[in-house]
Symmetry: C2
DNA sequence: CGAGGCCTTGATCCCAGTCAAGTGTCGTGG
DNA sequence: CCACGACACTTGACTGGGATCAAGGCCTCG
């Protein structure tokens, strides 16, 4: 919560690593937006990036801060949010391994980024990234596609926030988390809920109490199971899916 | 409303126009994403585009339709929306001159696009646009920046939908419309409201009745004036701005 | 063992939704 | 010219889903 400096944490210049199996490439390849680049292109990326491990609840940057870096999550979970002056909060997104954040206009970041769990990130300065984009056209295309994907997700979230009921919102949230986990090669159920009820509430446009009540209600209906507040078993995928789609 | 075919309307291949002042370039230059391209680059764009005038309430494409074209608005107004099976609707955005739409993943458009007023658009096939992007790197950069801008706007809309009150939502809507009009060189007040109350409601996550009541309430407080339902005078910009920001 | 989080649950309240008229405007046809 | 219906918008009365207020339970950590 206090503005710990990013650099006060373990940051390694990848160039310093000299393991025989070219660990450089293995590690950098984890970064989503260079997943299909050539060996040489990955090397150029590696030269300009920094790696760091951040503790839980660490504020990476705040809304309005000068935009200087773009971040990529190697491991962990991050939430992005916007605040109103009186403290009302809207979480814009939960990010996990492979996601990037820190894009924005030139008048400051437009959201605050905070780790949920301990998180490994790597970062690039915007300046260096820009020159890389010029050098590697495929990288630019890839960034563009990621932005479009984010935009599509944001539009679905607008439908959720504007038109879905509490029950539908929670169902949608669980369905998407589960699908995301499967895409990452993890089981779709039980799904991990690393974020707090307050975070879920601020993501779905609800209150903590309503989120909690809705979870209990879905559990009572045997649609989900809650072994503990950090995990959720999806008992009835079909019912959840239908709820999520507003049927 | 009936699925009139796009091509049943006046569509002109720009290549067919041969006016002495190179109207080609003038017209194509209106297209936002090629605003700062060279003469030669504009020519290449012109060669692959189609121009059309569409009537009001014309469905350009539906959510789920095969993605084949990208559109740019020369003149007029368009709304993009998503539907739930039971008819609940969320308007994703209102677009005006200079805006583009039709980007999406390869599994169909993710929203429906419908004209509000009579609208002039030009369109490109995705296939041709892709090859253009390869030829003109600056175009790709520009498209990327537009996607990021859209993303930032979507995130602000999430804050509105999830956390603002009806009064704050309407104030935000009016402030943004006014600023948009000024950027387009039109007066910031009175601002035109070409869309219906139903459209405004579905954009702000409210009902028609609440939108109407909120307008009357703001009018009673002398914050706005409503000469007719299609125009809004912003009497107290300061008050509106503060409302919009949730102060 | 006690303090402080975080989560759940219950009781009550209120903002926005729903239902139901009523008003104004426009276009059509007698 | 007016009568009429269609449609969009407004207004009023009432309802209800989720917010607010208030405990209470259950961890973890010192």
């Amino acid at each position: 919560m206090p503005p710990l400096d990013f650099d006060s944490h373990k940051i390694e210049h990848l160039a310093d690593l000299k393991s025989p199996q070219c660990r450089n490439c293995d590690i950098v390849r984890e970064i989503a937006f260079c997943a299909d680049l050539s060996h040489d292109e990955v090397k150029r990326l590696a030269a300009v990036r920094c790696h760091a491990t951040l503790p839980a609840s660490f504020t990476v940057f705040r809304e309005g801060d000068l935009v200087d870096h773009v971040y990529s999550i190697s491991n962990g979970a991050v939430k992005l949010y916007k605040l109103l002056p009186d403290g009302r909060r809207q979480i814009i997104g939960f990010l996990f391994s492979g996601d990037i954040f820190g894009l924005g206009t030139n008048d400051g970041y437009c959201y605050t980024a905070e780790t949920i769990t301990a998180t490994q990130v790597c970062r690039f300065t915007h300046r260096k990234l820009d020159s890389l984009l010029d050098e590697i056209p495929r990288l630019e295309r890839r960034m563009f596609n990621m932005a479009v994907k984010d935009l599509v997700a944001a539009q679905e979230q607008m439908l959720l926030l504007g038109r879905k009921t509490a029950r539908e919102k929670v169902a949608t949230f669980l369905v998407k988390l589960s699908m995301r986990a499967e895409r990452a090669g993890q089981p779709g159920s039980p799904v991990a809920l690393p974020m707090s009820r307050a975070d879920i509430a601020d993501y779905l446009g609800l209150t903590i109490e309503t989120v909690s009540r809705t979870f209990t209600q879905l559990k009572r209906d045997n649609i989900i199971g809650l072994p503990d507040s950090g995990h959720c078993v999806l008992n009835d995928w079909q019912a959840l899916k239908e709820l999520a789609e507003g049927a």
